[in-house]
Subunit: 124 residues, 4 copies
């Protein structure tokens, strides 16, 4: 399949609540970036995080094979540093080949969950 | 009415929870792709699903008449294979004529429902 | 202020649940289209609704003054016909001047509310 | 890092509910605009609010440093006037350098929270 997407994306919203009503992995409060590489070449992806009152952190490096998707939780990022909880951040995602990026948050601070999702901003 | 949209779309987020608080069809956890063909020609649509650690599955073939909309649940796809539950996936939607694609999830794992929706990524 | 937006928009998702936990106007289940006319000329807007198995209905005609916003509930549309509940639909919004269109649903079928929102698809 | 985004954005949806189930700052009903300035120059940002039946209010002036993000609550805007509660509005965001804009609402009127988020409309 021909590739689809762009090489440079941004997500201006980011926030991982520290609280959760459940310790079930699927229902822990989390923030994820869904990455799709529909094309025939593997993608080298670099994620940079931006904050309100300190310098950016990154790059976080991720590999995404050809014709694969990865739903990456920001909660799980560790290198070069874990993502702070209860802190606003934003992200820029840069890829060696065109990909599609979608952002999702599951918030389970309260007795029920809330969801949000939106396609990232793609630099044409 | 003149057509509106694009012929190639991608949705990087996909996940059908296996649990639901209700067996009412309208409230069962589901993930849907809303397709609009506003133009005067019927659309032949092919959906391909992408996964984290195996090859893509598809195409799932769908017909959408001129001047019609279809809100298709991924839960209902059967041919060539049902969509696995509790599994991350992504999708590419290709159409013979321009269409508009929007993605919606209703999550009723917990005692209350959560909703998300976003317009897909359109390849210009 | 110079205008911003496009003259032709589509929202592929549409569904008004018939049930609500509250009869409070703000909390009744509803689906809305938020229209912004930031420019200096009044807008004549025509909305056409599309369905799964019958012909489109419309146009619903709406006026939106210069430098004004209107958050229009599909629930309130009456002419040429009310919007059926518990029925999937899609919409195309056409304007005489550039506008911005965002789609929102508040679902209060269950004991708690759920929200979704997304910017419409704009025909470039 | 090179900048990413646009200088002119619009969000057609806006509504701050007056009620909240919690007075915890993180869980009070709020509407926010997430701004990302990934580039190397500081941004001077002007926000104008639009209403249904009166003239626009603004500009609200915000500074956003190079390589910083700001998650600004409309609830907190005071100059030239606070944002009315329980009132529909829309916004246009103009920046001296390219930025990315995403819109989020947390609604805690009911015993549980609901979330929505979407990338704003960017004027190409």
């Amino acid at each position: 399949m021909p590739d689809i997407g762009h090489r440079r994306w941004a997500i201006a919203e980011g926030y991982i609540p520290s609280g959760s009503v459940s310790q079930d992995h699927a229902l822990v409060s989390h923030e994820a970036v869904c990455l799709l590489n529909a094309g025939e070449k593997d993608a080298d992806i670099a994620i940079t995080l931006f904050f309100t009152d300190r310098d950016p952190v990154g790059p976080y490096r991720v590999k995404l094979g050809a014709r694969r998707t990865l739903h990456l939780r920001f909660n799980d990022l560790q290198d070069p540093a874990p993502v702070p909880r209860d802190t606003s951040y934003a992200s820029v995602i840069e890829s060696s080949v065109p990909i599609v990026v979608q952002h999702t948050r599951l918030d389970s601070r309260h007795p029920n969950i809330a969801l949000l999702s939106t396609v990232g901003y793609a630099e044409a």
